[in-house]
């Protein structure tokens, strides 16, 4: 009885569906939205009906149908029949699908749609087991096409930052759509569609069009967004490459333009700080990115030989001089030096840095221009940490000499007392002297310059010399006149002044003590100063800011016929006036000389390396020798330059070419 009941029920439901439900959906409105409502209505009614039927025939459902295999429950039966007649009907399916997709498209285009309706219909398909076939697949296809078109269009229309925001928006939208009415399993595929069409296919464009702009303007948020989005489509490697290329290009631009030299170091520091903040905030300090940054900086800073190293040394010099770190707290100064050390680490060819740093340090120490000895020493410690103690041992020697010289002066004074007490015939000096004794080798090389100093100077120098020799036998002292400076007490009618002048300036000024005028030639003879130096020094006394001497005629240059007089009208605001600033400045000649010395040293290093290598290997091909040399030297060298050194050694008969193989060299013992 149950069986026949079931069969009759089934037939009834079947008929009902066929005759009263289905026709309502055929040949109806062509408006998709209305049609959807229609379908939904039919479906809802069907569900209601089936629920009621099931309630009525509950006993049947729970007993007979459950126990009998091969028979569906009433609910399922209803579904099966519904599906068989309605949702496999071509027209129904087509129009329903069109309606659904059209609705979604409208929603994507910004319209508000009836989400409840959508949800209901999609649940219907799910219930009917047709979700994937009837909906999801076409949905994904349609979405693919939609986003493909959108991607290609939008990328042209708006700038990259906005585009990325848009993409972010779309992703959020689709996720929301899933929650609102799509089946949860559709989330992954639809997100993938969006990612692929909006991001993956356009990665190259995104990077090409927008990356530099965002970097230039340090748009941390936009860059962060880019990072997140590209991470989704496994394109971080491309982003990293763009990052590295940008850093390198910008760095090279800062470094390789001579007209920008004055600000190179500051620009580099600023740029590095900017790049670091982007790395941290936008790229979450991704290790691969950090490495790319480091590599790019290294390549950029070494794209130009020698000059960056020199400029970093000069920058540090400016900061270590008194007044150099004005307006910066100690913490800020320390952090600045740490950042400078990072740049220093990137530089190859650190010997250029050493040469200039040494030269500037010497000047600071000897002219008392350091703002703080502690800061100086902490800088040395930093350099030592980077380069090892052999690099800094000479610099440290310079500090020792300065400290030692202070002690020497105390001992000198004491010695004079003792000598006087003994009744030894020494002339007590009429002028105060402060001597710095420099150990040759620690300090930069200074060519001794001749100048005829006044008697009093010679006396006190000799006195010191006898003192020094009494302490240290076997040493030779040589006075470096170019490094000396004096404090002269000057009595101008307008007021007494103390002027700080170089030794050369002093020698000249002392000639005017008897108030008479002196001619150029006389000055030249009496002081014995070399012509170019003499002209520069006279210019500093007559044509500079502090004109302590007058010059006739009042031309802009120093001429051989000029006549000089004491400027009785001289006045100035301060009591102590420095006119020896020319000593502190680096002349163009000094700079070239320092650079040349570095290149000379490098040549010796190459020669020594070649001899060392060949001595060990006896014979070696050209290519192997070249790579061995490059492996041993610590700076970049052009292959042509290395070849020249090889040729020079051949000429000097350290090596020879093998007569049978021109590519082979043999060591000549």
């Amino acid at each position: 009885m149950a069986a026949s009941l079931y069969t009759r029920l089934q037939a009834d439901v079947d008929e009902h569906i066929r005759t009263s439900e289905l026709p309502r959906l055929l040949g109806q409105t062509s408006d998709p939205t209305l049609y959807l409502s229609l379908v939904n209505t039919v479906w809802q009614e069907h569900c209601e009906h089936m629920i009621m039927i099931r309630s009525i025939f509950l006993y049947l459902d729970r007993t007979y149908l459950m126990q009998t295999q091969g028979l569906r429950s009433l609910w399922d039966m209803g579904l099966t029949l519904f599906r068989a007649h309605i949702t496999t009907n071509e027209e129904v399916v087509r129009k329903t699908l069109t309606g659904l997709l059209r609705t979604i498209e409208r929603e994507r285009n910004g319209e508000t749609v009836n989400r409840g309706l959508m949800k209901s219909l999609l649940r219907m398909f799910t219930a009917l087991g047709q979700y994937n076939e009837a909906f999801e697949r076409p949905f994904l296809e349609a979405s693919n096409a939609y986003y493909k078109e959108e991607g290609c269009r939008k990328i042209q229309e708006i700038d990259v930052a906005d585009y990325l925001k848009h993409v972010e928006g779309r992703l959020a939208e689709e996720a929301d759509r899933v929650i609102q009415y799509l089946d949860v399993n559709t989330k992954k595929p639809i997100i993938m569609v969006v990612e692929r069409q909006l991001l993956e296919t356009h990665v190259a464009d995104i990077l090409a069009k927008g990356f530099s702009v965002l970097m230039n303007e340090t748009r941390v948020d936009d860059l962060g967004r880019m990072y997140q989005l590209l991470a989704r489509v496994s394109s971080l490697e491309k982003l990293r490459a763009s990052f590295k290329d940008y850093i390198k290009a910008t760095g090279v631009d800062i470094v390789t333009h001579p007209e920008k030299d004055a600000t190179m170091v500051q620009d580099l520091l600023d740029f590095k700080a900017r790049a670091d903040s982007i790395l941290d905030q936008s790229f979450h300090h991704n290790e691969a990115f950090a490495y790319g940054l480091k590599e790019a900086f290294e390549q950029a800073i070494n794209s130009r030989q020698n000059r960056p190293a020199e400029l970093v040394a000069k920058y540090i010099d400016a900061r270590l001089k008194s007044g150099g770190s004005k307006g910066m707290s100690e913490e800020e100064t320390e952090s600045l030096f740490d950042r400078l050390m990072v740049l220093f680490r990137y530089i190859q060819g650190k010997d250029v840095f050493e040469a200039f740093y040494k030269k500037d340090l010497a000047k600071r120490l000897l002219l008392g221009k350091s703002s703080s000895i502690d800061t100086e020493k902490s800088m040395i410690t930093r350099i030592k940490a980077e380069c090892g103690s052999s690099f800094t041992s000479k610099l440290e020697g310079m500090f020792k000499d300065v400290a030692l010289s202070k002690d020497l002066m105390d001992a000198f004074a004491a010695w004079q007392e003792v000598q006087a007490g003994k009744g030894a015939m020494i002339t007590r000096p009429t002028i105060d002297i402060n001597v710095s004794v420099l150990t040759t080798g620690f300090w930069p090389p200074y060519a001794p310059v001749e100048v005829k100093l006044p008697k009093e100077f010679i006396e006190v120098q000799d006195l010191f010399k006898s003192f020094y020799m009494s302490k240290y036998s076997g040493r030779r002292l040589q006075w470096q006149n170019s490094l000396g400076h004096c404090v002269l007490k000057a009595n101008f009618p307008a007021g007494r002044k103390e002027i700080i002048v170089s030794l050369f300036q002093t020698a000249i000024l002392m000639l005017f003590n008897d108030g008479k005028q002196v001619e150029y030639q006389e000055i030249a003879e009496l002081t014995g100063i070399e012509t170019k130096e003499l002209r520069n020094t006279l210019a500093s006394l007559t044509l500079g800011k502090a004109k302590v001497l007058n010059k006739e005629p009042k031309t802009k240059d120093i001429g051989d016929e000029d006549v000089f007089t004491f400027n009785s009208k001289f006045s100035a605001k301060l009591f102590r006036i420095k006119i020896n600033s020319v000593q502190m400045k680096e002349t163009a000649e000094e700079q070239t000389k320092t650079q040349e010395k570095v290149f000379e040293d490098r040549q010796y290093q190459v020669d020594a390396a070649i001899v060392r290598i060949m001595k060990m290997r006896k014979t070696l091909t050209h290519n192997l020798l070249m790579s061995e040399i490059i492996g041993q030297i610590k700076f970049q060298a052009k292959p042509a330059d290395l070849k020249k050194r090889i040729e020079s050694l051949i000429e000097r008969e350290y090596l020879e070419r093998d007569p049978n193989n021109p590519q082979l060299y043999t060591y000549l013992a």
Binding site: I646, E647, I650, P662
Partner: protein, 249 residues
């Protein structure tokens, strides 16, 4: 071109007046080139004239004809001019250079008695007519690759100033033209032009000189097999670069 050496271009010149009248003593040189071996193919006539010890006397007599009035043991530039006349060759003829090589002469323009004697002996001749006979044979020596190299190397030491280790550009050009022109005319012309236009080098050293020979022997006319990363001296790298630029059109 340096004027001071203009006269050396005309080695061995006809007019002695233009030769530098220096009074160098012959300084011992450090030549390491090998001394020439005599070819076994001497003509039957000269073999028949091989007389043994009596040779040296005849050689001396031959020498005396050209000796310098101030220095009996030296033939000076004038004497050489005469000698060439008697041999029927121009002083610029390359066979004179080969002859100098047989003599292991230390200095261009001068033959010492010992050098003259050594050369004549090696060539198995003792009179000037006999020497004149075999002179054409000397050209043949240049066709032997190994001998050519030795003669080429000898030329460097022969043509340079005794105290110097380098050969000035003008003399280099002249010697190159003399020796190399027959076998490698194009490269010689180009290279000489290059030497004239460039400014970094004022002379050639032995290494560069010998490398040039190697270059002519192994590098193709279109320079396609030249490797600037190889062991070639830098001057040749520069020559190739110049050559490519100038002759690219």
């Amino acid at each position: 071109m340096p004027e001071a050496n203009a006269d050396r271009l005309k080695y061995p010149i006809r007019c002695t007046a233009m030769y530098k009248a220096t009074t160098h003593t012959h300084t011992p040189t450090h030549n390491t080139h090998t001394t020439p071996h005599i070819e076994a193919t001497s003509s039957p006539k000269s073999r028949a004239n091989n007389e043994g010890p009596a040779n040296s006397k005849k050689i001396d007599e031959a020498f005396d004809k050209y000796q310098d009035p101030q220095d009996k043991d030296t033939i000076g530039p004038e004497g050489i001019g005469q000698l060439c006349g008697d041999l029927g060759v121009e002083p610029e003829d390359v066979s004179v250079l080969v002859l100098a090589w047989y003599m292991d002469a230390q200095r261009m323009g001068y033959f010492k008695r010992s050098e003259f004697a050594a050369g004549m002996t090696k060539l198995s001749v003792d009179t000037i007519p006999k020497l004149k006979n075999i002179l054409p044979r000397l050209h043949k020596d240049l066709e032997d690759q190994a001998k050519f190299r030795e003669i080429y190397r000898f030329a460097f030491f022969f043509a340079k100033e005794p105290e110097q280790k380098i050969l000035d550009l003008a003399t280099s050009e002249a010697m190159l033209r003399l020796i190399m022109l027959p076998s490698s005319p194009q490269i010689v012309e180009h290279f000489c032009e290059f030497l004239q236009t460039q400014t970094s080098y004022k002379s050639l050293n032995l290494d560069q000189w010998m490398s040039l020979l190697e270059f002519c022997r192994s590098i193709q006319a279109d320079l396609s097999n030249y490797d600037e990363n190889g062991a070639w001296p830098v001057i040749l790298d520069e020559y190739v670069e110049w050559s490519r630029e100038t002759w690219a059109k």
